[in-house]
Amino acid sequence: MPTQLLFGAEVFLNGLMAGVLYALVALGFVLIYKASGIFNYAQGVMALFAALTLVGIMDGQVPFSHLINAMLGTDVHHFGWHVNALISIILTMGVMIVLAYCVQQFVFRHLVGQEPIILFMATIGLAYFMEGFGDLMWGSDIKKLDVGLPQGGSFWIEENSQWLGFGNEEFYGFFLDQLDIVATGIAAILVIVLVLFSQYTKQGRAMRAVADDHQAALSVGISLNFIWVMVWSVAGFVALVAGIMWGAKSGVQFSLSLIALKALPVLMLGGFTSIPGAIVGGLIIGVGEKMFEFIVGPMVGGATENWFAYVLALLFLVFRPQGLFGEKIIERV
């Protein structure tokens, strides 16, 4: 059944692209977890916040307009200008850096040396705070994000893969979303840059040193505060990229923050401490859930996509708790 096979291949490719987006979110988790041992529950909300801010800046929205209107009785909504997408992205990055600084300064600086569970609780608080703060700042309506990325299926690919059907009437060529293709490219570049940064630069080395041993890093004169602000900024940048991709795909709305939950199985698969792990884990989950739905779905009545990732993660927790690429715990006897 060559048509079935071709459909399978299309599902596989689409799964890969969806996986890239999962991987992007998981990447943000890994960065912070590696460098500070904090499991950042707020990563998904950071993506939402970044996307909200980006839309707000692009559309020239007045921040806190609802609050201002309610308190002063005015009626302001927009400044009336539109900002270029690239400039908006840069400005949003600035906001994310300020956010990273505030998070470090007001929350985690006071929690140095605390139990991981306490740090985790702090990130839950942070997630709720940022969710509310984002709403207050930019309003809670669903927004459209258009930074000029191509949308819709790629006709080029569709036309040029049509011959694979060998005249089969049912096959019109592969349908691949252009946005997904762009997202894949951007994610690949992002990962390469991050790996180069952490392996070959002084700050990257310091970041890994901090991840290994806080006390020793302090003792050689590495400033933990600085490294942590840096890591949160990088995670903020990754959140921004993820926010742009997801926002362009399905609009900027509250449910964007829930992608964090999809990143959890990715992390369990790839390992909490591995950047390549986050990528491969994301791809496996993306492809896995699409293929499972395609092959097994019809037999069990569908809707397997909702649970497939979590069951897979559960299996990994039982048989390989450190994930595929997680750091082996070095133990000397």
Binding site: G113, R208, D213, V220, G221, R332
Partner: protein, 276 residues
């Protein structure tokens, strides 16, 4: 007795006067410790478990904060300037670096990357840092062989060398060295201490050394302080301490009168020790 050519000078680099350290706002660990570290010397800080050696070193290098400890009284000055409000990074910048007890290597970094983290605060360019890396490899040839292996997979002795080498990479004037002998075979302890001595003589690095192994420490140090439950109970030139009958008995396990019976041991417990 071993004579060292290079010795301490008259110039006092580090002065700790009457400091008190409290952990968690309640646990009083140091009850007024004072000491002086002369430039170019090896000063030893001796005493048993829980005497306060590590706390003293951490109070100097300002690493107490992350363990919820703080200096509540007294003064720590380096080259005459008060330093206890500085961050560890600023102190490293001024030339004081600590090698922590239990090595604390960055396990997932390679040996060479570990050494390079020591140069984090330096701003004198790649050439100077590379030259120092070569120097460290000269002092520790073993590390050169293992430069590409992850530090977590090297032996205890090698990790201690990495920790000391990493500190040297910051071009320090003073190294605070905490229990270099911990968990190492006697041969390795000797090797490490000889390297410390060489560094002291050839590079002029000043050392403040906390050590439980009194025997080795007093052979290599110039001056010693003995701490007991948070107080300095005795101090003097290393050669004198080695001949002191109390030190011999309590820390070196030697006695003029031979083995004692149980009754004598008990009477020793009642005797007030070292009250000076």
């Amino acid at each position: 007795m071993q004579m060292l050519d290079a010795g301490p000078t008259d110039e006092t680099l580090l002065e700790v006067s009457n400091i008190e350290v409290i952990y968690n706002h309640v646990i009083l660990v140091l009850k007024g410790v004072s000491l002086k570290v002369p430039k170019g010397g090896i000063t030893a800080l001796l005493g048993g478990n829980g005497a306060g050696k590590t706390t003293t070193l951490k109070a100097i290098s300002n690493l107490l904060h992350s363990e919820r400890g703080e200096v509540t009284k007294g003064n720590i000055s380096y080259r005459g300037n008060r330093v206890q409000d500085l961050s560890p990074a600023e102190l490293v910048d001024r030339g004081v670096i600590q090698v922590m007890e239990g090595r604390h290597c960055f396990e997932h970094l390679t040996v060479e990357e570990n050494l390079m983290t020591g140069a984090y605060t330096r701003k004198d360019g790649k050439g100077a840092v590379d030259a120092d890396l070569d120097m460290v490899y000269q002092y520790f040839p073993r590390l050169k062989e293992r430069r590409r292996s992850q530090a977590g997979y090297t032996s205890g002795g090698e990790q201690q060398m990495v920790a000391i080498g990493r500190a040297i990479m910051s071009r320090p004037e003073t190294i605070l060295l905490d229990e270099p002998s911990m968990g190492l075979a006697p041969q390795l302890v000797e090797e490490i201490f000889n390297i410390v001595k060489n560094l002291n003589e050839q590079e002029g690095t000043t050392f403040l050394l906390a050590e439980q192994n009194t025997n080795v420490a007093l052979r290599f140090a110039h001056y010693g302080y003995i701490l007991e439950s948070g107080r300095v109970v005795m101090d003097g030139p290393a050669a004198e301490l080695r001949e002191n009958p109390d030190v011999k008995e309590f820390y070196l396990g030697m006695s003029d009168e031979g083995r004692k019976s149980f009754r004598d041991v008990r009477s020793y417990r009642r005797r007030k020790r070292w009250l000076s």
